[in-house]
Amino acid sequence: MPDTRIVITGLGVVSPIGTGSDRFWAAAVKGTNGVRPLSSIDTTDYKTKTGGEVLDFDPAAYLEPSKIKHMGRSSQFAIAAAKEAVRRSGIEVDKEDPFRMAVCMGTTMGEPQILDQGVRAKYDASDTNAIPPDLPRQYPCSVIPTNVARELGAKGYVTIIPTACAAGNYAIGYAFDLLHLGKADVVLAGGSDPFSSIAFTGFNRLLATTPDLCRPFDRNRSGMAVSEGAGMVVVERLDHALKRNAPILAEVLGYGLACDAFKMTIPDPTGSGGIRALGRALANARVAPESVDYINAHGTGTGENDKTETLIAKTVLGERAKSISMSSTKSMIGHTMGAASAIEACACVQMLNNNIMLPTINYQDPDPDCDIDCVPNTAREADLNIVISNAYAFAGNCSSLVLGKYKG
């Protein structure tokens, strides 16, 4: 299907600055900081005391009480975001062929709180029999998309791609391909990750978390903030969306994947994977570098990432990189792991629709190694037509997603 166009018709967000895409957007435009002292973990022994938690999340608003106890927080987030995305898209699920409705998700840690709960139960009681029998079944990350599919009645492709912190982009990219290949009519795509003590401990031990504020692209940036959330989009072929008079929010123009093949936890300082991913995304989308209006950066706030990401943009976009704006949503919501690029895709859709670029907050001191316009501290109006969302990850996974304003 060479002329197939793929569009986004719905989105849903669960984030530390608000559950629901409208609340998320309103808070993000104001430059709200969702990184706060942590309440779900004892931080006494940690250098970093802050992170992003979704404090307003009530699973009972999305799930029957009897189901809540049978699934982890990642599944609950994903279902909440998916239900919002479906509602906004106006899809009437019972009018769709269920075998042509797919669910494609990404995650970093899956349901780590389930494993945490089980292992702590074992240690607390010195007995594995203290582990609730139904707990192990809630752990494999495969349950996240199957819980979504079961809740929404989808019976098509149901898959999860745990490519760590780039997973949301991988999932949306695969949705794009499933639609192009004619394997689905509608795909619910996105990512979900709950706050994880494993991730918080690990990033602390790697000295990758900041004891300060998260300050992407700032000279004094000192690390990332571990966070949680979910983002989901409804993706479908344009003809399918038009036929049902769906609200068309944006067009998925293409994506690109690559990897660094360098180190498990450190990006290649030459940006080899990111350069390939961005170049492939532009080629896949048939978009020239000079047409790009904005980049939503991976922008974690670590020294290595932000410097390398600047290099990637300069290498691929050339002169255009000096004038293009590239901001970090993570400055506000922290790093939501496998959900990050899915939430950022939702943010990009909202930016395209509102012609507003979200800011990089906590920015004070320019870094000559990050000499880009990071939209410091305050959201800014701009005529946005084509935007890119970058996501990079452990194991050197690199991805870029190209979205465009739908113009008929």
Partner: protein, 400 residues
């Protein structure tokens, strides 16, 4: 569906039945039975637990000593299998010409994840080894493989539980048909781990008798196993351009979801199971009656086995059926990839390796016991049906 033919030009497997495809083929008709495990490095199970470990693998013999110190067992299984399958393909290609890598796994290394967590609980968060954190992401084995072979083209992990090994092949099949790459090394991986076995024990899915009897009338659960099977998938154009001889073709694929399952309770009338078997055959351009044999997903979990038997009987009638898990154990994400490797061995050997004799089996399907002559059609249907509801079928076509 449009797109180029997708061929298998290399394959390898590591499992309880040996290291490499030749050992798998030679040992498949034998009946080694399960081994057992109790002690792990930091933990001990409360009893000797029957399982099918890949104990014949010596990672150093396959991979050399360099770089293995910080690698967990799942990563070693994957690296060894890839090394055996197609090290030379990685060595003789550069940059954007290298095949991608796509691995299906249910857990990644849950041993690494659990040990990291245990260490932080027992010894304190500031005592854990930061380097060990890298092994806690589910895509860690795949990442280690792309680093070892300097692969910058594609490195993806798919984690759809029991189906992951086949779904990684589906992902790669789609990636090739979209024209993004000419070749991807894809398959399934799973390690035996303390945490996974403990979880299975608590869930009550393991056979109390320590026997795995797919489609058995007295089956009472499964015996866990481990392993890895990887395949070099190439477009026909790529294989032809480099003069590679295909050994099989991924002729048809299908994936669907059965919402009627929850916590392992399959609805006997599952239409998703029937749907994927029919769709995979349709994608291959064959009638279900043309399938030479079925490599079933059955693992001795009676409701799931009964559901699959009823669906096979309805869709494929009297087509011969086997269940390789009887000889390999339930290897979770690796299982369907190992089943595909076994089917490939059987297609090449002109045989169908059935389930071992010695237990009473369900009626209604043409279950092969011991072995039978291979069908002439050259098509095998590989099934993967997960307790989560994931359903995947692939039609494998032998290329003589």
């Amino acid at each position: 569906m449009s797109g180029p033919k997708v061929l298998i030009t290399r394959a390898s497997a590591v499992s309880a039945l040996g290291v490499g495809l030749d050992e798998l083929s030679a040992n498949l008709p034998g009946d080694p039975g399960p081994g057992s495990v109790k002690a792990y490095e930091f933990h001990e199970l409360d009893r000797e637990t029957p399982c099918f470990p890949a104990s014949r693998l010596d990672p150093v013999a396959v991979l050399g000593k360099k770089g293995l110190r910080t690698k967990d067992w799942a990563t070693k299984l994957l690296l060894a299998t890839i090394e055996l399958a197609c090290k030379d393909r990685f060595d003789e290609t550069e940059g954007d010409g290298k095949p991608g890598i796509c691995v299906g796994t249910a857990f990644g290394s849950v041993q690494s994840i659990g040990d990291f967590l245990s260490d932080s609980i027992v010894n304190g968060v500031n005592a854990v080894n930061p380097q060990a954190f890298a092994n806690t992401v589910i895509n860690s084995p795949t990442g280690n493989a792309n680093i070892r072979h300097q692969v910058r083209t594609l490195s993806t992990t798919v984690a759809t539980g029991f189906n992951a090994g086949l779904d990684a092949l589906l992902y790669s099949y789609d990636y090739l048909r979209r024209g993004y790459l000419p070749a991807v090394v894809a398959g399934g991986l799973e390690e035996l781990s303390y945490y996974a076995i403990m979880g299975m024990q608590r869930s009550g899915v393991l056979s109390p008798r320590g026997l795995i009897q797919p489609f058995g009338t007295a089956a009472d659960g499964f015996v866990p196993g481990e392993g890895c099977a990887m395949f070099l998938l190439e477009t026909e154009e790529s294989a032809r351009a480099r003069g590679a001889s295909p050994i099989a073709e991924i002729a048809g694929v299908a994936n669907a979801f059965e919402p009627g399952t929850f916590a392992g309770a399959w609805a006997s009338g599952s239409d998703a199971v029937r749907y994927v078997m029919r769709e995979a055959c349709a994608g291959a351009g064959i009638d279900p009656a043309d399938v030479g044999f079925v490599a079933a997903s059955a693992n001795g979990t009676r409701p799931a086995d009964a559901m699959e038997a009823a669906a096979i009987a309805e869709v494929l009638g009297g087509t011969p059926v086997t269940a390789y898990k009887a000889r390999l154990g339930e290897c979770y994400g690796a299982s369907p990839a190992l089943s595909l490797a076994c089917a490939l061995c059987d297609l090449k050997a002109g045989r169908i390796t059935g389930v071992p004799a010695g237990y009473e089996t369900e009626g209604g399907i043409n279950l092969v016991v011991d072995s039978a002559a291979g069908a002439e059609s050259g098509f095998a249907l590989i099934n993967a049906f997960s307790c989560d509801g994931n359903c995947t079928s692939i039609v494998l076509k032998n290329v003589p």
